[in-house]
């Protein structure tokens, strides 16, 4: 009796494409070949319906998310708007880092420094070429950060594990010193002040017609989230594409990836560069939201916070990146306010925020070692795999009986 080969329970990767549509047909002969990758229909397969195309689905979902953010910003207080603006500059950086670490398996303790490159490019451009459109400034920030990221990435591609961590750590520690050394151009300890982008009159009146008054807080949060969602959209497409599969292959087994024809060095440098570009967006928005680029904002604590955010959220998960960013923004404030409410003085209340942060990190690692999103997803997939196995076993016994 030959056993028909079934879906391997160890690799229950449902692709976005087979979303529910094939689950009804478990009892029929299981597909022997792997599911075709999204975006590239297998030869002979029917072209996918328009709405099921990855790009279209991602586009619609992200556009919906942006609309949700606009409504959300309207519904909440100015302070919450400011907090969301803050979260908006963490999201691209954390998302970029989670792709680098979770999908490609490279660690970086230097993303805070890469954000600094983006922030200083923004501040320097605005200071020396006043009136430059924000879009141009943003593109310049991305460009310089990408260049720095590519250079670091080439070095990083040759290093592994603790050596890579050490090299990027050096970046995080050393780079702020540049702002102090070139004090005349970069403003030293005090940094460079940034005038944040303002809405054009046309946009302002357009917005006023639909929602009402557009405050500065709201506008900057809106810009930040538009960029954050754009970054998430691009990253999500990238990691479900061939490039993303290459990155995963390199992460899981370099030798196997090489045998499959993947240029490992190129793949790793590309991942680092993409991730750096995201940090550039984040740095540019940080400068716009805090209205300042100063070395004090880019301490090693920032880089480590970003890393903690992806670990808590779940390595490699973009949803996890959003959750992790939310944690960075809301946890200190909630904990400090709670402490103050319990009668602690302001100094004691301020000191429990880092403590709780550490405890959360430890507890997540103990209880949910794949991060919040990673663990939930794992549970879900385990259940699904078990069901499929049961269904398969049932079908088999029926056949024999």
């Amino acid at each position: 009796v030959t056993t028909p080969s079934g879906p391997d329970p160890r690799q229950p990767e449902p692709t976005p494409a087979d979303d529910g549509s094939s689950s009804g047909g478990v009892t029929t002969t299981p597909e022997v070949t792997g599911a075709p990758g999204p975006g590239a229909p297998a030869p002979g397969a029917e072209p996918r319906p328009f709405l099921q195309k990855t790009l279209v689905r991602h586009g619609l979902l992200h556009a919906g998310a942006l609309l949700g953010i606009v409504l959300l910003l309207e519904a909440i207080s100015p302070f919450r708007n400011a907090q969301l603006a803050q979260m908006a500059y963490f999201v691209p950086a954390v998302a970029g880092l989670t792709v680098l670490t979770g999908i490609n398996g490279q660690i970086s303790l230097g993303h805070g420094a890469l954000m600094m490159v983006g922030a200083y490019t923004t501040a320097y451009t605005l200071e020396n070429a006043e009136g430059t459109p924000f879009v141009v400034v943003l593109l310049l920030a991305i460009l310089t950060t990408t260049i720095v990221g590519a250079v670091v990435g080439v070095a990083a591609a040759r290093l592994h594990g603790p050596y890579l961590a050490g090299a990027t750590l050096a970046l995080a520690v050393g780079l702020p010193g540049i702002a102090l050394k070139f004090e005349d151009a970069l403003g030293g300890e005090q940094g460079l002040r940034v005038s944040p982008p303002r809405p054009t009159d046309g946009f302002e009146s357009f917005y006023a017609n639909i929602f009402g008054d557009l405050s500065n807080q709201k506008f900057i949060a809106l810009v930040g989230w538009a960029l954050a969602i754009a970054v998430l959209f691009l990253l999500s497409n990238l990691i479900t594409s061939r490039v993303g599969r290459d990155w995963r292959a390199v992460r899981d087994d370099e030798v196997a990836a090489q045998l499959a024809g993947i240029n490992i060095g190129r793949s790793r440098v590309l991942a680092f560069t993409v991730s750096a570009a995201c940090a550039g967006v984040a740095g540019c928005m940080l400068a716009a939201v805090t209205r300042l680029a100063a070395p004090g904002s880019f301490t090693i604590v920032l880089s480590i916070s970003l890393l903690a955010a992806i670990v808590i959220g779940g390595l490699g998960s973009l949803v996890g990146a959003i959750l992790g960013s939310a944690m960075l923004v809301f946890l200190p404030q909630v904990v400090t306010d709670f402490g103050a409410g319990q009668g602690l003085n302001s100094s004691q209340a301020a000191n429990i925020a880092p403590l709780v942060y550490g405890i959360v990190l430890v507890v997540v690692m103990l209880v949910a070692p794949f991060g919040l999103v990673g663990t939930i997803r794992r549970k879900y997939l385990e259940r699904k795999a078990r069901k499929m196995l049961e269904a398969f076993a049932a079908a088999q016994s029926q056949q024999q009986g």
Partner: protein, 444 residues
Amino acid sequence: MFRSRPFTRTVVALAGASLFLTACGGDDNGGSGGGGVGGDATGVTDTSIKIGTHMPLTGPAAPGYSEIPTGAKAYFDYVNAQGGINGREVEYIVRDDAYNPSNTTTVVNQLVLQDEVFAILGGLGTPTHSAVLDFLNEEEVPDLFVSSGATAWDEPDRYPWTFGYQPDYVVEGKIIGQFIQENFPDAQVGLYLQGDELGRDGAEGVKAIIEDQIVAEVTYVVTDTSVRPQMQQLQSAGADLVVGFNVPGFTARQRGAAGELGYNPTYITSNVGSDANLVGTLIAGASQGAVTPEQAAAVLDGTYTTSYLPTNDQPDDPWVQFFQEVWDEHGDGGALSNYRIYGMMQAYLFTTAALAAGEDLTREAIVEAIQSDGSSWKGPWLAPLGFSEDSHRGVTGAKIVKLEGGAAVDQTPVYTTTEEADSEIEEVTEEPGEPTEDGLPDVG
């Protein structure tokens, strides 16, 4: 590994987040309390005034500086116990920014938009406060008595809501320069500077008076772990008088490096870097128990520095006695440090301004009161305040003192001047104020 549909989940998560945020956000964008016609009375009720500040309560800048708000709070508690300011109790909210400008933006947003404070009092630090300068002035929130000696706070045209507090570093430098000119006319002066506004402005002041006596100028950045190369440079240039514009940690490093080099010049250290207790604690910490903080503090014996407020080594000063009483009654333990006196004086100055603004306290009224009457207010500050329509400078001068056995011995009268290089340095003839019977400022 585990690929998924992040996008479905993105939306679900955002929807969830929006519910959460809406639930705890509230729509409290109202603002103006019972102000009436006199302007914006956000944060003021008939029985309370809410003010806020940003301070480093955690992180490397916290030792020392985190004591400032405890001093201010003790004085406000004292005022509240006396019935408050025109019947209004002061609620003083301190938020931690860990000396990180990004955090400063966050906590000041919270103070202004969520806590809806009436004013920000004594936000600490040049880089940190720079981050919120535009925001506070756009929102038209009084930004009073910034805890930093940068000259940026005195720009009434650009920042009409921001007021300085301590003498700026240019003024301090000029007074030090004049002291050298009169007492050490033959000295070869070396400058030891922090690589930011502190060092730059201080040097500008000193050079305005004694440019020709300066033989060397060295700069450190706060990430330097040793300043031995800098001290060596001063030594080989033959400097026998070293003027430092630096923070306390770099006073400790400076003395350590000079000791190693067998270099023993006369030192003049700016007010910021000369807190003997803190420098002593830092040196003792670095020695890992080899010396006690008290022994280490003796390193500063013979150092000249400037002073613009009474200090805790003058137990006979009426202000120090008064602040000691306030601290004993309302403090949270510990000794009355000079940082706490600094905070109390700040709170005293705010109380003066709020009283002068009158019964109908509004944001406009307090700014108006400071501009029109501020220069005549009396208090613990040694030199007069520089407030007017065209000037938002705080204390305008200082005196030179010598540290001897834990006490500061006066070397000069109190001088006052402005930051223009050629303006006169004048002796202050009026006496500083005395504490009143009830300890509340008397604004007439």
